[in-house]
Each structure stands twice: as C-alpha cells, then as structure tokens.
C-alpha cells in the first residue's frame, strides 16, 4: 500500500517536471515505456448465503451506494422442459404470471400501483428456468416485496391475459424471417442441436394455440416450490433485517417435488452445406457449427484462451484476417461454445456481400486449416492470457455482478469459488493445451455450413463446396387458417 502511493507520487512528479521541459512536448515516451503499477489489492464483497429449512436458498448482498433494492428469484424449469406440442408454454407463462395478477389484485392494478412508485416486478421464462424480479426504491421495499411474494405464492393467471401473451409470440413467429441475422442464428442452432432439440426448437402458431390457462397453473404448481428457488437480493439494506423479512415471508412455505431436467441427447450436426434462400438481401449470413462442450470440462480454460486467439476479440485471427486484411466482413467472429449444464456450440458467424459468399467460406476454411498449418504461437498465447487475466477484475467490479455469478454457480451446482478456479486455470494454460483443444473441438469435416442469402448473386454456387440441402423456412400456418392466405418466401425464382 505504502509502496503503491509512493510510486504514484513519483509518477506525478516526473510528469509535472517533464511538462516544464519544452523538449518533452509532443515527445512523450512510447507506450512500451509507460510503467504499469500493480493493481491495488481488491477483495470483492461476497454475498451471504442463507438456506431455509424448506430448501430455498437466499443470497444477500448489501450495496449502499444508491437507495435501491433489487432482487431476483430463479426457479428451476424452463422451455427445455415444455412438451413438444406446447412450445412457447414457458414464454407465455413468463408473461401471464405477472400480467395475470395475484389472487387479491389484477395485473393492471399492479401496473398502476408499481409504476406510480417507479418500481418494477417482472417475470419471465428462459431455457432452463423462470424468474421473478423486483427493483424499487428502498423506502418502497416492504409493499413491493409483498407483491413479489404474492406472485410467487398466489398467482392468478387471469384468463384475459393469455391471448395477449399469445399475440406477442404469434407476432414473433410472423416476423421471424424478416431479419437475415436472426434467421441465421435460429437455423444454426437447429443444425447444431437438431431441429427438434429442446435447445433449438421454435414455437409455431399451432403450439402456441395449444397452450391453455390450465397449463400455466400446472406449470406453477409443478415448479414453484421453495426447494427449486434461488433468491438473490442486492441493494441498500441491512442483511440481518432483510433476512428476517425473507424468513417471515417464506419460512412457512412447504417443500414440493423437484422435477428432474430433461434427458437430451447431443449428436452434433449432419455435416454439409445448407442454404436458406432469401431474396431481399445483398449480404449473406454465414454460420459454421458443430457441438462444443460444458464449462465443467477441464478443457474449459484452454478453450477460453483458444477462443480469444481464434475469434473472440478485435485482435483475433478471424477479425484480423477476414475483416481487416481481406475486407470481407463487418461482422465476423467465433469460438468453441460452452454452457454450464449442456454442450454449447462451436460457431463461426459472419456477414459478407452476396458476391463474395464463396470467397468468404474459403477464407473461413483457411482459418480452420490454419489451426494446423500455423498453430497458435507463444506470442498469441501470451496476448490472449494477458487479455483475459488483466480484464479479470471486470468479472466482479460491482456487487450486483458478484451476486449474479454466485447465483449461477449455485443454480448449476458449480463450486462457489469457480471464478477463482477460473483465474488459476487460465494461468496454467500452455501452448500445447491450446493446440490440443483446437484439434479436439474444431473439425472442418464435421461442420454444418449455413448460408442465408440470395443465391443468384453468389460468386460461385454453394454446390462447389459439396451437396447443398435447402432449408425451407416458410412459416406453418395457424390451425384452421385458409391455405390461400399463405405464401412462402421463395417465389419468383
């Protein structure tokens, strides 16, 4: 600490002296001569973990900077658990849970009451969980928390809000082919996991129409039990008092069953070329995908370093070669995807003008081949590790972020000190590790290559890379709709 301060004052003194010298003007040392002092010691404040008798886990994180309190409860069970005939159920549930109100108040009443206090209580549905959050000035906490608790324990799912939520999903379905990058992201996911995989499938008019209010009530009764809930609260409060309030609200809540996550098989894509015809664009969206892995894989650290080198930063190979040197793209990037409890996808993504589509695919192949012909170097390794380790402090530079991380580790059963292990793991990564994961997870012959674009304008037909499978993205009509009203996107060619 002393040394730190002394160093700084010397630094300032040197600078102010040099500024007096005319010769120094415009001739400040080049960046390599700038001394970087050690970063001050920093021990981020950890949230306090409390577990109730009924299994509900609570994290309390005091943050007195601003007069707000924010909280999120994350509940096991999400869209990957919904039946294939009712895709969209978790998303509809995530809306109507809040808009449908509680036993004592309608959702519209809640809107008026909360908005008048600049407060928010919102719900949502995700892939593996649903959530309910609150955000309010601390002086309104008690009344807002009461609503939060009522929504958890006595939601009403009033019928009139069900069609409203379905409207939102139907609009999303109708518009899902409008933006080419959206089409590419969705279809790449389907190629990587399989079109019917819980990690890729999409709601359709028919599956949305099949969802009823009873489904929403059943969902709530199946999943929302204290032993499936992790609650995190951050803000301007005293932990002891907050713990008491939470205990009072939830101690009496009886435990319920804990449904197991779905058994999903991951077989990877069928390699080859895939085309989505889209005639109203002058840029092709290209994706290359195969299966990635999980974060509890010991390779995770080497993968993180590899990604930084390959396609995860401005100074990565993909950006440098494909964007900067060849000028073929504005957007290009990629890497080996990882997720907490299921394999992520290896994915490369880029956009290039229609007339350089084949050239761009060649350029991407060249980068993949390059992993063998010009394997990552010591210099690249050092730069990538420096980048990850020097920016490590940004993983926990706010109390809210620290809370989020801890909640994620709890949710997925990862060790509480995963972040510290991550730092240690990155430090140990060697060049051999990086080269090994590049060979292990990136397979040119295993890739599904997807192009969303206007084929007539391509520089070479995609068939020059092999047989091409056309993907039909036309939207299945809603049940009972007149066939005549439908047309697909592939007319006039």
């Amino acid at each position: 600490m002393m040394a730190q301060d002394r160093f700084r004052s010397i630094l300032v003194l040197t600078l102010s002296l040099s500024s007096l010298l005319p010769a120094a003007k415009g001739q400040v040392a080049d960046w390599r001569q700038i001394v970087i002092p050690p970063l001050p010691a920093f021990n981020p404040q950890e949230p306090r973990r409390v577990e109730l008798h009924n299994g509900m886990v609570i994290f309390l994180q005091e943050d007195l900077e601003l007069p707000f309190i924010r909280g999120t409860a994350r509940i096991r069970g999400g869209s990957r658990d919904e039946p294939a005939t009712k895709i969209g159920l978790a998303a509809i549930y995530g809306q109507v849970w809040r808009t449908g109100g509680t036993r004592s108040r309608t959702g519209d009443d809640l809107d008026d009451y909360l908005e008048a206090r600049a407060a928010r209580v919102e719900t949502g549905g995700g892939i593996d969980s649903t959530s309910i959050s609150l955000d309010c000035l601390k002086d309104n906490f008690d009344e807002v928390f009461k609503i939060f608790v009522e929504l958890l324990r006595e939601p009403e799912f009033r019928d009139d809000k069900v069609p409203l939520a379905k409207n939102q999903l139907d609009t999303g379905i109708a518009r899902r082919n409008d933006e080419p990058a959206g089409v590419a992201a969705r279809e790449a996911q389907k190629l990587g996991y399989g079109a019917n995989s819980p990690y890729a499938r999409q709601p359709e008019y028919a599956t949305v129409a099949a969802v009823t209010r009873d489904d929403l009530v059943n969902w709530h009764n199946t999943y929302v039990h204290p032993n499936n809930v992790i609650l995190g609260v951050v803000g301007d409060f005293d932990s002891k008092t907050m713990e008491e309030k939470i205990r009072t609200a939830f101690d009496s809540w009886p435990k319920g069953p804990a449904p197991a996550p779905p058994q999903v098989s991951f077989n990877g894509p069928k390699p080859g070329m895939y085309l989505v015809q889209k005639d109203d664009v002058n840029q092709s969206n290209i994706r290359m995908v195969e299966l990635g892995t999980r974060r509890d894989n010991p390779d995770y650290y080497a993968i993180t370093v590899f990604n930084e080198i390959f396609g995860g930063s401005f100074s990565s190979r993909l950006v440098e070669d494909v964007r900067t040197k060849k000028g073929l793209a504005y957007h290009v990037g990629g890497g080996i995807g990882t997720a907490f409890d299921h394999p992520g996808l290896f994915q490369i993504s880029m956009g290039t003008k229609s007339g350089t589509t084949a050239a761009a695919i060649d350029a991407l192949y060249e980068e993949i081949d390059g992993l063998k012909t010009r394997p990552p170097t010591e210099e690249e390794l050092k730069r990538a590790k420096d980048s990850i380790l020097n920016s490590f402090v940004f993983e926990f530079d706010s109390k809210g972020k620290v809370l989020q991380e801890r909640m994620s580790y709890e949710f997925y059963g990862y060790p509480a000190d995963f972040l510290e292990r991550y730092r240690a793991g990155i430090e140990k990564v060697s060049l051999e590790d990086v080269q090994r994961v590049a060979q292990k997870y990136v397979h040119k012959d295993g890739l599904a290559v997807l192009v969303v674009g206007k084929a007539a304008d391509f520089d070479k037909p995609l068939t020059s890379f092999g047989p091409v499978a056309d993907i039909d993205i036309s939207i299945p009509p809603p049940p009972g709709a007149a066939k005549a009203a439908i047309s697909t996107t592939s007319e006039a060619r």
Binding site: W31, E65, F394
Partner: protein, 509 residues
C-alpha cells in the same frame, strides 16, 4: 442509426422530492466527486471519482457526426471513427517514414484512378484498368509496413473491455474500460490516436464499412424504411442523410477526404473526455494535462448553417417489402437544447410509451390487440438540432399499418383536448427521478452521460437540470405542446406494406 428510447438527455432527478433518506446520491454530493477542467487548447475533461472497484471507464465525445458531411462525402464521419482504431505513426507500423511515403502514393494513384473512372465522356477503359492496378500496387506496398490491429492489441492485452465507438447524426464517441493501474497508458493511447492518426488500410476498411451498410440498412427491412423515412422528413438538414453514407459515396471518398475532415472537426475545443471510476482527481488531471494538452490549439469550426425549413403539408413514404408491416408517424419539433419544450416531449414519451401503464400500450396492445408494440419517442434521429417526435408500432399478425394509424390518432387528439390526470403527471415525475438515480451506479454509463451533456449543453449537470425542469411541468404544458406539434401539416408518415401475408392469421378472435 438508433432510437434513443430514454436518451441521456431526459433522465434526471430532483431528489428533494423523493422519499430518499440517508445514503441517496444527489446533485450536491455528486458535485463533490466531479471536476471539470478546460485545458489551454480548449479540450474539456470531466473527472468523477467512484471508488467501487479498481477500474475506470472513459468516454470521448467529439462534437461532429454525419451532420457536417455533404453530398459526396456522406459516411465520412463514421469512416474516420473506424480509422481511429488503425493506430498512429508509432502504433501499427514497422517503419513509419517508409510507410508515410507509401501512403502518399496510395493517395496520388487513387486520385488519378478515381478521376478517370468517374469521367462521364470519353473514358478510356484500358487507362482505368492501368490506373486501378497502379493504385492496388501502391496499397500492397503500403500494406507491407502495417502491423495489423496493433492498437486493439494493446488495449486488449492490457485488460481493456468494451472497446468500441459509435457515430451518430451529431456525435462521434469512443469508449472502453481499463483496470485503474492503466490510467497513464489510456491517456497516451487516447490522445495519440487524435494527435497522430494514420489513414492506413483505408480502402479495405471502406469495404468493411460498406458491409456494415449492407447489414444495417440494405438487408434489414426496418433499416430500409428508416433511411427513406428520414430522407422524407428532412429535405435540407443533414438528419435526412444516412449516417453510414450513400453507396456511391462509400465507393468514392478517399483517405485524403478523411484527413481533411479530421483536421477541421477533431479540434480540441470540439472534444470532451470524461473519466469515471476508482481514480484520484489530483493524480489524473496532471496526466490528462500532459497527454491531451499536446493536441494543437485550433479554432472551433463554424456552426452548421442549414436549418430545416418548416414543413407545410403532410409527407408520406411507403416501402413495399416482403417483410412484415411497420408503422411510423413523426412530427417536427425543437431540439433538445430548447429547455422550455424538451421536458414536455420527454413527459409525452413517458406517458405514451413507458411500460404497461402507457397509453399506447393500453390502447393498441392490451385493449384493441392490433399491435405487439406501440410507443412514441422523443429526439429522433438526434437531439442537437430540431428533430422529430415519432410514434411507431408493430402490428400483430393480420393487422395493417392503416389500423395502427387509425388507433394512434385518437390518442393524439386526447392529448390536445383533455388534461392528463394528476396520477399520470405524478407518475411521470417520480419515474424520471428514479430513472436517473438508476443510471448513477455504472462507470461507463456515467462517463457517457457526463461527456455528452458537457458536449451538447456545455454543462454535465444538464442531465440533472432536465429533470428539475420536468418536475415543474404543468398539465397545460402537455396540451399546449400537443396542439402546436401534432398537426396534419407537420406530420411525416412511414410504413412498410407487406407484399406477402404473414402466416395467414387474419383477425384476432
């Protein structure tokens, strides 16, 4: 191009009115953390101490965007923004003296080639090909001196995060965050890029920027509509031109054009640098002085002369497109610098658009069920010059832009003829205070607010003052402004008419 939903100009707080006690932030306590210094060359520095974690963020606001372009060089402000990542005479070169000569040759060969290829009569194709070859050879020669991505690499290997920049119709901004032990390195890098910028790899980067245009505008139905919509709304003012530039200009302008643009507009008095985080002001200011003080003292360019003439009858643009429909309706209004009217438009935005209590949500989405989203937004496409208040809505499947228009219109009439309720007025005021408070807990967000408010209004406190003014708002202000703004002759309509039916669904059951 972006719609500033709740722009930095409209958050804000008068804390005395809030039920906030001990720990709350307010303007008085923030003033103790903030220091403003204008250097001798005219560059403004704003420093804010926030000791949450050993990191800091900065935001460099340059008071020029596409507003200072003219036909032929549209897109150039944005192009220069890209060039500011290409390094300097020390960063990114293997041999600067030789590279400098090579880059000069790129420019002379390009000028010769460009002149010949654009000749309208008597163009000699063989000569064009030769000149093009000479230019390409010069580029290849210059490329041999380049260390690609040197600037990005220095930032990234030193732990920089959020490295990026953006250009709007009136501003260019650069930002990232660093660990706090890199303050001096940052000051060096950020001042050096504006002291010794080098137009290396310019023409390849021009292709990259063109890809950005294809992504954001050409291949995106909403992008296609908004380019046409703004071109219809503004016939004289640069707000009518795309920030990314017209295709012809993106294929024509030169590195010399970019250098000239830089020389004229990147002058110290046009630049505000805000730095927020775990810094000590007394230590940062001398460093900033040392590095940014090196920028030459040059005069500020004259203000933009062109003012959009008053619109005297309704305009309309319809884009026929395979995509799903969209409806937009805009009205000309004064700039955000009009401190009397701006809070009223901010209040209108909140009333019409913010959340499930908003009027357009309740009418179009909840009750009529013809829209999936509907809102009214202030300060489009910018805030510095007279701009637009725009309503826009996405229909649910089977509904048309015309139905949206017909449903929005009575909501506008209601603003003119009925006072908003006491509850609505109180809600708007409460939310504006709380929303500002919510922005204060983030270094990067604060740096952006400080720099932009200081740059556009000459005072970082402006984002507090706005809300103090909002707190004085009367119901009659809303009616007055609605009556003077939302009139037929001041309206610009824009819509996407779908050339194909969406998934069939007709009317909501």
């Amino acid at each position: 191009m972006r719609i500033r939903a709740l722009s930095i100009l409209l958050g804000g707080a008068l804390f005395a009115a809030l039920p906030v006690t001990s720990s709350g932030q307010d303007l008085a306590s923030l003033e103790k953390q903030v220091t403003v210094k204008v250097l001798d060359n005219g560059l403004t520095v704003v420093v804010c101490e926030r000791h949450e974690a050993p990191v800091f963020s900065f935001f460099t606001h340059v008071d020029v965007g596409s507003d200072r372009e003219y036909p032929g060089i549209t897109g150039l402000a944005h192009m220069f923004e890209h060039m500011a990542f290409k390094g300097t005479d020390k960063i990114g070169t293997k041999d600067w003296p030789a590279e400098k000569v090579a880059l000069a040759k790129v420019e002379t060969t390009y000028a010769a080639y460009d002149r010949e290829r654009r000749r309208e009569f008597g163009r000699d194709e063989q000569k064009v090909a030769e000149l093009k070859k000479a230019w390409e050879d010069a580029i290849a020669e210059a490329q041999t001196y380049v260390v690609p991505h040197a600037f990005d690499e220095i930032v990234e290997e030193n732990g920089g995060v959020g490295l990026n920049a953006f250009t709007t119709n009136e501003e260019t901004a650069y930002h990232y965050s660093f660990p706090v032990n890199r303050v001096e390195l940052w000051a060096y890098l950020e001042s050096e890029r504006f002291l010794h910028p080098v137009m290396r790899e310019f023409y390849k980067e021009r292709d990259v920027v063109y890809e950005e245009r294809r992504m954001r505008t050409d291949s995106d139905p909403n992008g296609r509509l908004f380019e046409q919509f703004l071109g219809t709304a503004f016939i004289a003012h640069p707000y009518g031109r795309p920030v990314v530039g017209w295709p012809s200009d993106l294929k024509t302008f030169s590195a010399t054009d970019a250098e000239n643009f830089f020389e004229k507009y990147y002058v110290a008095p046009n630049i505000v640098v805000a730095i927020v985080g775990d810094v000590k002001t007394a230590e940062v200011l001398p460093i900033v002085q040392q590095y940014f003080g090196r920028l030459p003292k040059r005069p500020q360019p004259e203000p933009l002369a062109t003012v959009e003439p008053a619109q005297d009858s309704q305009r309309q643009v319809t884009v026929q497109d395979p995509a799903q429909p969209l409806y937009v309706e805009g009205y000309h209004k004064p700039s955000a610098r009009d401190t009397k009217e701006e809070p009223v438009f901010d209040a209108l935005q909140d009333l019409l658009s913010n959340g499930r209590t908003s009027r357009l949500y309740r009418s179009l989405v909840r009750d009529k069920k013809i829209a999936a989203f509907a809102g009214g937004f202030n300060d489009f496409p910018g805030a510095k010059y007279p701009d637009l208040f725009v309503f826009f809505a996405f229909p649910t499947p089977g509904h048309t832009p015309g139905e949206l228009r017909d449903a929005i219109r009575p909501e506008i009439e209601r603003l003119k003829t009925e006072d908003i309720t006491d509850d609505e007025l109180a809600m708007i005021k409460t939310r504006s205070k709380a929303d500002l408070l919510r922005t204060l807990g983030d270094n990067a967000g604060l740096a952006s607010q400080f720099a932009t408010a200081q740059g556009v209004f000459g005072d970082w406190r402006e984002f507090f003052h706005e809300v103090q003014r909002m707190d004085q708002l009367q119901k009659a202000d809303i009616r007055r402004v609605a009556n003077q703004t939302f009139v037929d002759s001041n309206r610009v309509l824009g819509m996407i008419e779908s050339t194909q039916m969406a998934g069939g669904r007709k009317k909501q059951q």
